[in-house]
Amino acid sequence: MEMPQYDPNTKPEFELYTIPSHSSWFRWDDIHETERTALKEFFDGSSISRTPKIYKEYRDFMINKYREEPSRRLTFTQVRKSLVGDVSLLHKVFRFLDEWGLINFGAVSRGDDSDNRDSSLGDTELKNQVKIEEGAPNGVRVVALPNSLKPISVPNSGADGSGNGKVAVAGETGVKLPPLASYSDVFGDLVKLKGFKCGSCGEQCNSGCYEYSKGSFVICEKCFKNGNYGEDKSKDDFRFSDLGGNSLTHGATWTEAETLLLLESVMRHGDNWELVAQNVPTKSKLDCISKLIELPFGEFMMGSAHEMNSCPTGSLNSLKEGQSASSENQNDVKMEDQVHDQMNESKQNGDAATEEPPAKRKRIAPLSDGGSTLIKQVAHISTMVGPHVTAAAAEAAVAALCNESSCPREIFDGDEDYLANGLSSPTMVSDPERALQVDASKMEENQSDLTETQDASSEKNDVPLNLRIRTATATALGAAAANAKLLADQEDREIEHLVAIIIETQMKKLHSKINYFDDLELIMEKEYNEMMQLKECLVEERIDVLERALKTGVSKWRS
């Protein structure tokens, strides 16, 4: 028997289970419309193996199975062995119940969405424990467990190992609240860093821990060797889980230095993962590959890193971001090479393009549109990739130009450091035209220097300064403009959304008013009919009276 709210006056004779209020339509002895719509296959009579009765059996079994132990998260594999039927269909029912909170509502939640997260009970259990020790933000009362109202008092070090034990102890005193979803969002990251705490000796298990396979108990290697398994546990029940650099979960902790190393080694060795893994000392081959895939530009590297031969390493090595997207470099370098007789045109277009606001960001047009100019194509490409890629592309383009004449190279070489500083600050914002502006400005400078004089050495000191100033201001302006545009877009969307809501509510109001008036009309009509009937009755009575009067021969009878 379940009740969505807790009534403090009744003695808890029945077990109380919490389900979310949006599932309050659920009844044991009936099948609701929601279920019929969501799981049509059972209700359309298409097969003898899919009937409402069968659905009800599946559903009841799953819910009862979950409620045998509400704090434990029921997995699909546990139920499917007990039910006859297509496993995909069973899985659908299971997911339906899970989404509506009819099962697993009070259970510890699995790790968030990443499939790589270690989903062992030890992790989540410790997450709950660590929550206790962290303390709550102001104004939020955190319950010690999902199942009691008692605020946190004593942080148990988990000596008895299981939150299950605590559930029995805490007593069913009140409404069982699920763990606050936002809590794990806020404190989830802290938990990740904490690592595992040994259940028996209380120390951190850094290198490896042994998990108790039947429960939620973790002990460190030392204790395992010494035989301190904790009460009632034997050696065979423990499973080794390596927290060292080999497990998938710890492949996730990449520092920036390691990422830089990884990118460099991939640049140099391309697809040769053995060498790459050697260069990145703390990560295994598998980790390197998966990390590279995760990086937004990682796939570009793997494709063409080994094709690239003469990327101007001098200019790129100074930029951390510059090491990415070598294929982008290739494309841009090729494009620039092919068309450097169109330099003047592109310069002019460059100015026009950079004046366009970041509306380019929204375009999803095909990559190579033959109709548009070169600079627009570059703009398209740069909107689709991140800022560091665009920066790298700009650098490579400049370098390609430099290859033709050596004197501007000196100018740009001196400028790089400043460029790195300028570019690394607004890394979170993608502002395509910034790079273009930089590009355009550099091209302009390039042109003017080339045409003016060959003894750039005397002006070398001044020109870099100008360039620096220009690049810095361009960067700042671009970043600000992009930010503002983003905010404005967001505001627009919000406004639209709110207006839509308002309109809807007004419509609903009107509808209900109309309905009300319709009802009134009906009532009035009925009353009118009744009145008419009454009138007729009256008329009949009068006629009767008149008849009788005439029959009895009343002489002077007046109506």
Partner: protein
Amino acid sequence: MKLPATSSSKAPVKPTADNLVPIRLDIETEGQRYKDAFTWNPSDPDSEVVVFAKRTVRDLKLPPQFITQIAQSIQTQLTEFRSYEGQDMYTAEKIVPIKLDLRVNHTLIKDHFLWDLNNYESDPEEFARTFCNDMGIEDPEVGPAVAFAIREQLYEIAIQSVASAREIKISKKGRRGAEHAISSKGGGNALDLMKLFRYNSSVVRKRKEWYVYEPIVDILSNEEVDALEAREDRNTR
């Protein structure tokens, strides 16, 4: 693989959520043996086969003779798959038992469950994912292997039913072969739906039968893995 009830003009209906072909490779050249099993998307252009073969050879550092052999093998299996596509398959429901018995690196899996051949929303990959999550398997190669095993078995069953349907058609030509085929399809792999889903029987299994359908996942030690591999090699030679 089946004629669709509703379909767009482009894609044929898929027996599962994605139309993937299970491909198994077992090539031996110059003393080196390459065994692999994966799923392939038949709507990929055939040029991809050669590209894939080249990349595999490079990644695994195999001698280059493997490239042509791998590509050929994949192509043959693909063509065979395509020859079954569009066959007239009866859309009667068919629940078949699937048994898993595979070893992936250090993980040994034994499992037994039911699968509906006709459920177009069924997804072996999703099943494999749920399986790995629920059983806490961390080895990323297990999921695809499980999905592959399921697909392979489904594929074989489908082929069998196509072949048997053809035979029935030939043998009973002119005589409403279709209806007969449906009724006789109860034999073979498909479970008798009438018996299982009778009105007065329950779909919840008896407790003592639970262990039959329960998955068993074992993590083997290195020695056990070596022993098993040696035995497998002996068996296949």
